[in-house]
Symmetry: C3
Amino acid sequence: MLIMASLVLPAGGSARTLQQVLNEGRIQIGGVLIAPWAIRPEPGELSGFEVDVSKKLAEDLGVAIEFRVYSPERIVAALEAGEIDLIAAGLPISPETAIRVNFSQPYSTMGITMATNRETTVLVTELEDFDDPDYRIAAVAGSEAAELVAQIFPTAELLEFETSQQASTALVDGSADAYLDNEPLPTYLSLDNPAIVDTPLTGPLIQSRSGFAVNKGDPDFLAFLNAWITAREADTWLPTIHSFWFQSLRWRDE
Amino acid sequence: MLIMASLVLPAGGSARTLQQVLNEGRIQIGGVLIAPWAIRPEPGELSGFEVDVSKKLAEDLGVAIEFRVYSPERIVAALEAGEIDLIAAGLPISPETAIRVNFSQPYSTMGITMATNRETTVLVTELEDFDDPDYRIAAVAGSEAAELVAQIFPTAELLEFETSQQASTALVDGSADAYLDNEPLPTYLSLDNPAIVDTPLTGPLIQSRSGFAVNKGDPDFLAFLNAWITAREADTWLPTIHSFWFQSLRWRDE
Amino acid sequence: MLIMASLVLPAGGSARTLQQVLNEGRIQIGGVLIAPWAIRPEPGELSGFEVDVSKKLAEDLGVAIEFRVYSPERIVAALEAGEIDLIAAGLPISPETAIRVNFSQPYSTMGITMATNRETTVLVTELEDFDDPDYRIAAVAGSEAAELVAQIFPTAELLEFETSQQASTALVDGSADAYLDNEPLPTYLSLDNPAIVDTPLTGPLIQSRSGFAVNKGDPDFLAFLNAWITAREADTWLPTIHSFWFQSLRWRDE
């Protein structure tokens, strides 16, 4: 009867504390399939920035890892339901989500930045120069990036596209002078087309920071995660792995 | 009987957790009436940096806000007594206060800085130059700023005044060459008299940092507040509102 | 009988919370006897960076202090056993230790840096220049510093010594061109031999950060320590005392 009872429960059917994770020797981590956070290069395989982070975290805890993939809409509910012990998904630290779960300190930054066509913007010296009817700025229709273009470059011509692929193609073929999108897309475009595309800004125009999320009620878990981030930033493990996934395209060759 | 019992309790008669705040749909926040932290422009009205912060925090929590005003001497006791759920009052993070309540990470910095008379200090190139009997430095008698003048400019002439108003007037009319006081007074003086007064230092001479304070025993409240600060700094809401109240005088026109 | 029972328990036989420390008016802090963290200048005397930090912390808590000395191998177990309430020992924030205890935010940074012989390295302009068979780099055999030399200067000549004393002597007498070791040894060597030895790097090559450690299960203790560090960094007490012990040799004269 007891065995039956445990069989009908879903795996990880209730939220586990750090101590339970250690006792059971297994951590269940949730991520989202968005490159480069988590990627499925082949069926049954997983790689990506948050997959590397999760593996290192589990290794440092001395426990086995189970990495589960969720949609961005479902992942917080999955943590609340105890299907997973931790979210490592580039989840933005937002007031709305912080009401439901506890965030660690941030360990990565996301944001919207600008890629430019080197040739058609050769005369531009300041960001404000783009606020000119002569400049055509590409973004995905209805996206936060498109709103940002309308807001900070109101007199420029906004070219709206259905997909990031189409918007970035417009920049490369010269039919747009600039392209705003979420990182790392503008950086990747510049790495793929170094002679044509530049990313002239030193930081994102709008940014959010992301951290691990765990369930409420376990401050020791949070203290461990904050110490882990501090340690793995100091020994350069985190900045090195972040740079590999967000500032290079070497991961495509692996 | 039960209803009676609850009626005789003062409103918010015991410390409430974040969960209780969310359940009851109402947060009681305490502040102090010191410009620009909290200001009463008209009877019954409140504005100011911490009032804006408190409103945004309550809005993000999805709860109603009750903002109560205390003296600096009484506000920590009011939190301990459960009259309020949270302090948003530019409360300096100090060891003494941290024994009694839990502080969030800091979200603003306060400090003593120097305003100078542009004309009489035109030859000054370094801070050390003021340590000279030819320079007259104004401060409020018995204040921390006056102690600081005596300590770092021992050979300068210290002019002590009863009020900040008198000390700053001395700077503007040229009877003092420099004036040390708590921010934002020196910055406001320079904004009000841009042709006469400068604030040449890039940072305060002495500083303290301030954060939210909540009662002990609710680490989830602290985790929420830290995430809120991280999110509202990343999206520039906090630095923008801080700059409006501390680096400009536009709020006087509202 | 009750008195007997308490006598057979070791002093501080179980982990105490911050509240218990305050109630009993006494804190037991553990350190390690490594200069300049803790030093025994005379039998029965203790001084050093962490001794100063511990005294200030106890003073700010308004409690008596008992500072106990442990080996680095034993100190975490001593905290877990409740022999001490807090570790102030330059303990590196590492994932491995963070599984056992809770770390505060960091308040100091340690790392390996390089001292150079001014005369023999006069032509060096970049760190990479040392990766040359003409350069002889000293380190303690089998140390992390020696591994680092092999890793970042693979073609340089690695000179291995039994002790830091021998390695640093080789640098001073010109039989080595550079010397890698844990801070503050390279800085001290340069302060002792300013005409001969330089520390040209602006930061350590490898670093770790250290904080206070307390037992798990007391998030209010952690919140107090984080506020204490924030306050004592803002008022410059912590950077001043750190600089005295790590960037000067004035403590040798005391």
